[in-house]
Structures are given as C-alpha cells and as structure tokens.
Amino acid sequence: MENKETRLWVLMAKKIAGEATAAELNELGELISRLHIQPADEELLNRLWKTPLKSSGTPSIDIDQNWHNLSHSIFPEKSHFYLAPIDDGRKVKPSHKKAWLYAASLIFIVISFTMGTYLLTGPASKLSVKKEGGAPNQVFTKNGSKTSVDLPDGTKVRLNAGSKIYYDNDFINRREVYLTGEAYFDVTHQTESPFIIHAANVNIKVLGTAFNVKAYEEDDQVETALVRGSVELTTNDDPERKILLRPNEKIAIFKNKNITDSVTRNSASVKSSYKQEELYSISRMEIDRKDSVLQDIAWMKDRLIFKGELFAQLAKRMERWYGVNFAFRDETCAKIKFTGEFDNQNIVQALDALAFSCNYKFSYSFDKNKVIILPK
C-alpha cells in the first residue's frame, strides 16, 4: 500500500488533469483534511495547468506547405490518368474507386545529366551484373539495347540504352541507388523506407512508387520530369535546400552549380530557352497530342521524340538509341533544328528522314560504327 502522502499527490494530479473519478475526489478530500497538507492554491494550479506552454526548442513549422505536399501526393488528379498506357507492360485501368491508388503508386521522373565517371567503354555485353564482396551491385546496358532488372526489394527497373545502375549490398536496409543514363523505376512501396536515387549531384527521394530517370553524361543539365505524385530533390552542394516537384513539372538543374534562389516557374516549356544564368528552371512537361505520351518517357514505348532540337543534341540521343557515334564535319549542320519522332526506323531510315526534312542541308556517310555528317 502506498503511503498516504504519495496517494494524495496521485489523486491531486488526477484531479488537475481531469482524470479523477468521484470516488477519488472524495478520497482526496479526506486525505487533505487528515494529513493537514495543503497543496498549493488549487485555483492557481488549475489556471497554470490550463495555460499552454511554449516549446522554445521546437522549430517553426509550415503546416500549410506540408499539407500541400501531402495532398498533392495522395489525392488523385483526373488529368493524370492519360499516363496509364505508358506504364510498361502493365494494364492500368483506373476505375473510379481505385483512382487514388494510382495517384499514390505511380511517379515518373525523367532525369538527364552529366556524370564524371561513365563506365560504358569497351565491347561490353548487353547486360552485365557484377557481384563482389563489399562492391556495389551493378547492372548496365550498352548503347542500342535495353534491359530489365529486379532489385532486392522487389522494385522493378527498366534500363534504357547506355545506362548503368548500382546499389550497395546494404540496399535492403537503405534503399539507395546510383544511376547514370536513363531508367524507369517501379518502386515497391515501403512507408518506413524511402527510395533515393543519386544522379550526379542531384538526389531524388520518393516515398513510394514508380518513376523514370534519364541520366546521360553528355548533357549539361540534370532534368527531372515528374508526371504524377511528388518527389523531393536536393543537390549535394546544398543538401538543406529541397525542391518539391508538382505533377507535370519538369526541372532542369545545370551541372556544377548550386541551387539558388534564381528559380523560375514557367507555363511555357521550351528547353532551349533556358538561359545560362539560371541555375535551375521549372516548366511544364510537353505531351504528345497524338496519344498523350509524355515526350520525356516516350522511350518506354520505343519512340524517340524531339521538338525543335539541335542536331548536335539529337545526335547524342541517336548515338544511344542506335549504338553509333556521330561526327560533324561542319558546325552549321550541328545547328540545324529538328522536330519529329522515330518509332522503329533503323539508323539509315532515320538519317534519310532527317536529311529530307531539312531539304538535304546535310549528307552522311558511314565509317564502321561512325556516322559522318557532311554539309551539302
């Protein structure tokens, strides 16, 4: 049996906290009169109890912003359903009831960037998986080929041509992968364990789901296009600063530069209009009118789409697409702009189509695997 004074304080605390039963209140009254202990002025204690405390150590929070982020990632938005057919090999037919599920379970990201260490040299096989003690697991594809990989947590990855992904043996505990090139991810949902992609100096964090990452060394910028859901980006240079992408937005972060306040959000999206002085730029993604395929993930459908793209840029993509090398004999040819798309054309058909569309401003010849572009 606890001693009477202890009991008194237990009851007193209960009374102030509003926990005491009628019987306990009676008991408290009895104890007070019997023990001659007068707890401090009850009225005052009550008022003190009801005065809220301030936690000085608690940082200020932006509930509105956090709500915005959350609601964007979990509530479905009808305009996104056109994406369903792109989801590789998977029949996604959003029913009305299950609509929320797709919004929560599908995220696409496209990223392109420059990576200092590009290991795709030499006559590698189409797919190579290395496993050594302590060394990260690697999967990579040569130019001109694609492959699929299942990660240990069940995440499915489709690698585009000329791409490499690696992850630690510790992957199952820390879901982090490193990517160069381009890949589509269908991430197994694990609420406690976010999935993080490191791409050059950019880190992308996703709490669930599916996305596409494009990451090639030739490009001067990291491009991330988010189709659905929400993802958070940070750079190694400024890990404190987080950028949250909204659906259908695309961000381009220029390499070797920090993210600063010079951000723009445009409704128009023209890649070539990014000015050099801008460190990053957010714009809307473009949708191919014909079948609502987002340009950024057209590769999933074996399509190479380009709009107002410089030949030099397009050539880089064709190099990966067809597994060839381009050589421009003349700068003027590199500056020709093209708009169009390739589906199943081979390299010769593609080059012929390009030459035709610019009224034969250039001609080409082959030297083994090299395509030489000559002025007319």
Partner: protein, 187 residues
C-alpha cells in the same frame, strides 16, 4: 469528450466516404502536437516532418482499415513514435540513447501575469522545475498537459503501465505545487 467525438466523426467520414476535407481537418487538428511528439524521438525538423507525412499518407492509403482503429489519436501517436524509432535506426549517425527532450524547453507563455498572480520569479522557478524533470517524466507531463491525453492513452502510446503515468504525474505536480506554494507564502 467532444474533441474525442470529433476525431471519431472525422475517422468515420474518412473511412466510409473517403472524405478529403475530413482528412484535411484531422491533419490540421493534430499536426502540431504530433510534430512536437516526433521531434522528441528525432533530431531535426526535416525528419520529424517526414515521419508525419509518412504516417498521414499511410492513414489515407489504408483508410478502409480505419474502422478497426479504436482510438485514432492513440493510433497516430503510436504510429509517429514507431515510425520515428524506425527512422532513428536508419540514421545511425544521429542515434541517441533515448528520447531527446533537451530540445524541448517548456516556457510559460504568460501574457497576463496579474490575472494569474504569477510573478516573473515564480515563472522562472516553474520553468526550472520543468527543465529539471527527467526525460520520461517530462514526456509524460507534456503529453498529459499539453496534448491533453488521458493517462490510459499515454500509457498505451509509450508502452508503460498506467501506474507509471500516475506516479510520474504525481511527482511532477507535487514539485510544481511546491514551487507555487513557496512563492505564495513568500508574499
């Protein structure tokens, strides 16, 4: 009681109707308290925010199961605690021996001291008493007083006995009462 009924009502609307407005209301209703609770287990604002986004995301995605939850408030606190502890395991650099309450300093925000008959000196002493509470007692005090949780709920969330909550609360109140008493008699 009304607060409890209100949460119950929101819970039903979310579970049965997939009511986004109800979900938003729940979020705004409990965010601050849950956020502070999360910071007890995790250093840094970002991680605590992440934990909350995780927990609320899960509640929404699994809302069909909500009718099985007896007390949503306890469920949320417990989820925040468990998720936060899981996070801690993944960030070994920041691992701490126990809940970090040093970051939480309790300060009486007394705007009308005359009305409360509280002197600056008394406030200073009350704060000192609160500050000197051992972490576990402070946490219990915080949950009961600030978050207005029932003893039973605190016990469930922290996985301790109601007896422990009673004891810790009685000690807290006794100390505070003595501080107040001392200042009143000194007048």
């Amino acid at each position: 009681m009304t607060a409890h009924c209100h949460i119950k009502d929101l819970q039903t609307r979310i579970a049965v109707n997939g009511d986004q407005a109800a979900f938003k209301e729940l979020y705004y209703l409990l965010y601050k308290e849950l956020f502070r609770f999360a910071t007890i287990f995790l250093p840094g604002k970002e991680l605590a925010e992440e934990v909350l986004q995780d927990v609320f995301t899960r509640v929404w995605l699994q809302r069909e199961k909500l009718p099985l939850v007896n007390n949503l408030k306890i469920y949320l606190y417990s989820s925040v605690k468990n998720t936060a502890i899981n996070y801690r395991k993944r960030y070994p650099l920041q691992s701490l021996s126990g809940p970090d309450l040093s970051a939480i300093e309790l300060i009486y925000d007394y705007r009308t001291p005359e009305e409360l008959m509280i002197s600056d000196q008394m406030v200073a002493h009350i704060n000192k008493a609160i500050k000197e509470m051992p972490p576990k007692r402070k946490l219990i005090f915080l949950l009961v007083k600030e978050d207005q949780l029932k003893y039973r709920e605190v016990a469930e969330i922290l996985n301790i006995s109601i007896k422990t909550v009673e004891t810790q609360m009685s000690i807290s109140l006794k100390r505070l009462s003595f501080v107040v008493q001392f200042h009143l008699s000194a007048k």
